[in-house]
Assembly symmetry: C2
């Protein structure tokens, strides 16, 4: 079977090199709208999405993430947009990590569908447990008590989309 | 912006009522293939997918899940196929829950793309921590030490796809 949707789900790849130019508002909106229609546990819509395009805050996120990672490089690969996803602490909402992850997954697929490159970045949990992270969440206007689930680096790919690595032979099995 | 992929990402809904007839092999394969091309942390391909169509094992999963849920109803809504996703314990692989969740997300989107209904079901973590669950994982031929991440109930929808609930007004914000 084949159609445009299956093709996109199979052919989307993580992009780790971005052009510096900012993406179009309509492209960002398409990505965010796909995110909010991801399924969430019991339809509770637990996650919160913050798309950061402000260059100073992007630079701050780069610095915060690099510090957790213990590196001087840019963990967001120079992407001009960073889309952060937050959700309740798992003790408060049992599917919060799954819910936030499904939002990120839909956004990566949507990014591919509109010709953008994206890559899941990590360490937002640790970043937003710091005092600096908590201040930033306040500045974003988020409610208290959330944790960072993950993020995507978003922008125009600087290079050709890499080929998929071969999948492990026994990734799935069917029990008839 | 609009295209077939964005439309599918926005319009897929969870289906909670299934026809008893089994889905076609090619439909199942399209769903599983979308799952294995989901991104995983560091490209590690940590998850494992088990699609169960054997009626006796489906009935066993229904019973195991209902026991955790504390109900007599069918937590998989009568779906003829249950697709289970397992992954390493998070102490062994730091993105295992995220990785397994992205696999499940891609499979739900692919299901919609081929005209199937699907719904994320839960409680597989608890189900496969029991002795019965451990025996079943052995029967599936899975390596030791995995945990259940979640599953999807998969089949032909018995009713029209429900409309999306309105999304919360401040689901996303853009920081320019």
């Amino acid at each position: 079977m084949n159609n445009e949707v299956l093709k996109a789900l199979r052919e989307r790849r993580s992009v780790r090199s971005f052009k510096p130019e900012q993406i179009k508002d309509e492209e960002l909106k398409a990505v965010l709208e796909a995110g909010i229609y991801a399924p969430t546990g019991m339809g509770h819509q637990d996650p919160w999405i913050v798309a950061v395009q402000n260059p100073e805050i992007v630079a701050q996120l780069v610095r915060m993430n690099a510090k957790i990672m213990g590196t001087d490089s840019n963990p967001y690969y120079g992407a001009p947009t960073i889309v952060l996803v937050f959700a309740s602490h798992p003790e408060k909402w049992f599917t919060s990590v799954h819910d936030g992850t499904l939002v990120l997954g839909n956004m990566m697929n949507a990014a591919y569908a509109v010709g953008l490159g994206s890559c899941w970045i990590h360490r937002e949990r640790e970043m937003f447990e710091t005092e600096e992270g908590r201040q930033l969440m306040k500045r974003f206007g988020l409610p208290d008590g959330l944790i960072g689930i993950g993020s995507i680096a978003l922008g125009y790919a600087a290079n050709a989309i890499p080929a998929a690595k071969p999948r492990k032979a026994d990734y799935y099995r069917i029990i008839k």
